[in-house]
Amino acid sequence: MTANPETGSPLWQILSNWGSLIPTILLLLALAGFSIARNLIRAALLIALAFLSLGLLFLSLGAEFLAFAQILVYVGAVAMLMLFTILLSRPSEREHAAAWLDGGELLRGFLIGIILTFILGMFIAASPLASQKFQNDFPAQTSLSLQAIGQALIGDAAASFLALAVLLTAALIGAAILAFDERP
């Protein structure tokens, strides 16, 4: 009774074609909420929701390992860190309100965002990619096999993998030292 419907089944077709619609809508809602969120904690939670929906988007793109890594790292660690920082930095009530902006900055921020989208959109439309008809039907084996990533990590990407390990340790120790409170 493995629930993985054979890839030919209609449900799977629907999911693989339109499956990425739901996370996208979730993502857009989360971002809208995040940009106008008044309360800091709610803003941090909406960002966590955005990361979660991005994880689902990766899932619909077939990169299963990436999706769970993204959820584990962003929703589990980064969002939690933000919540802790908000608690540690104890923004005063005035500051809470200050998180909400006087119209000006928000407008400026959104203006930049919209203009940039149009510029990038034009480049995407103009690029040869847009005209080329991409094969839309996904191959049967849609999700990336883990062995490939594993071999790559140990094989040709081993050096960068070790460098990454060193970087992560350095970040861990650095963050701990920076955040440690040295009050005598």
């Binding site: 089944s9 709610r42 299963e64 390992f65 589990g76």
Partner: protein
């Protein structure tokens, strides 16, 4: 015949739908829903059962009877508790964050139910066969941390925030040993997908001893670490400090009453069963029978028998051990569990690369015993309070 009962029932039901003439999309969707609802129903039934059995076992250990008023042997007690929880008034603190206050129990329950999707309940009874199932488990249980933070924060009560901080500190510091010991098993089995892990434990040594991972030398240490970290992960027994009634009233659950409070408990018990099932899948050979000729008993009966046995051990430990103090709890995780997990990791390398035979097993077993005694030694010493320099209090 009972072995394929669930699969055959499922297939028969889908054919029935097709015969009625429903479009195949609807049939697929209904099939998916059926699996989801049946899995959740099984685990919620287990929750209802254990909420009574736990109290009866605790009672029997203390030489008293335990609930026997409601229904035969007190088995209808969960119904009584459920109704009581529904009738109780649901108080929301004064200027608490209403949306977050409502969201926290929902966010606590969803991950513990989502996690049930990847566990192999029987030979081909896997709701969703992901090939990175183990990583899925850790990713989804990371969401439960946010729920605990929300529960603490939304109550607008300083002590519940403190309780939430303690709970998260405990869960984060026990996530590492949990992940490392699970990693050992994934390496030994060569894959992250749970059905494959169960398959790799399938052969029997000289036809008698099942070579489950728990009985391999490194598996003993990894299993011990996983079990202790599992206890801490679900805030149970000696590690239930965040909800310790004596210290912080009910930790992050102080501001909840009525059905929201019950939802947190459902989440905790289902989480307990999920992690018991994961322990069984990783170390006790999932649905494999302990002896080859016992295979006539259906596989999913073996699976749930082992899960109930591990749940019994968890309740047994809860009946015995007192609660640990927060700093002992954290230092135990960082000074004993994590190094032991890494030494299990090293023992696995010894065992695997010296050709999984008796010699390598003895060698890695010696290494594990040495590591266990070396790490455990400071914990057996009488606590000698050295002169502490206080950083914050003058």
């Amino acid at each position: 015949m009972i072995e394929e009962l669930p699969t055959r029932l499922y297939a028969w039901f889908l054919q029935l739908l097709q015969k009625i003439g429903l479009p195949s999309i609807i049939v697929d969707i209904v099939g998916a829903f059926l699996i989801a609802i049946s899995t959740c129903a099984v685990f919620l039934a287990l929750f209802a059962l254990t909420s009574v059995l736990e109290r009866k076992i605790l009672a029997r250990v203390q030489n008293r009877l335990g609930p026997n008023r409601v229904g035969p042997f007190g088995l209808l007690q969960p119904v009584a508790d459920g109704i009581k929880m529904l009738i109780k008034e649901d108080i929301i603190p004064h200027n608490a964050d209403k949306i977050l206050h409502f969201l926290a129990p929902v966010l606590a329950l969803i991950p513990s139910l989502l996690v049930l999707a990847i566990l192999p309940y029987g030979s081909n009874l896997v709701p969703v066969n992901l090939n990175s199932g183990l990583l899925y488990y850790f990713a989804i249980s990371a969401i439960a941390e946010i729920a605990i933070f929300l529960a603490g924060w939304a109550g607008n009560n300083k002590y519940s925030v403190l309780g939430a901080m303690r709970a998260i500190a405990q869960i984060l510091s026990y996530e590492l040993p949990l992940a490392t010991s699970a990693l050992c098993v994934a390496l030994a089995a060569g894959s992250l997908s749970l059905p494959q892990i169960v398959q790799s434990q399938n052969n029997y040594l000289l036809g008698l001893f099942p070579n489950w991972f728990l009985f391999t030398p490194w598996g003993l240490a990894a299993g011990l670490v996983f079990f202790i970290a599992a206890l801490a992960e679900t805030n149970r027994s000696p590690f239930d400090l965040p909800e310790g009634e004596s210290e912080l009233v009910a930790g992050h659950l102080t501001e909840y009453s009525g059905f929201k409070y019950a939802t947190f408990f459902i989440a905790e018990y289902v989480g307990m069963f999920a992690i018991c099932a994961l322990f069984v899948t990783l170390f006790l050979g999932g649905w494999l029978p302990p002896l080859p000729f016992l295979a006539f008993i259906p596989s999913w009966i073996w699976f749930f028998a082992k899960v109930c046995f591990i749940a019994f051990v968890m309740i047994w430990i809860r009946a015995t051990l007192p609660r640990m103090r927060i700093d002992h709890l954290l230092s135990f995780a960082w000074k004993f569990l994590l190094p032991l997990a890494f030494s299990a990791f090293f023992a696995l390398l010894l065992w695997h690369y010296l050709g999984r035979n008796i010699l390598s097993s003895l060698l890695s077993f010696a290494f594990i015993v040495a590591a266990y005694f070396a790490l455990g030694y400071p914990f057996t010493q009488r606590y000698s309070p050295r002169k502490r320099t206080y950083l914050f209090s003058e």
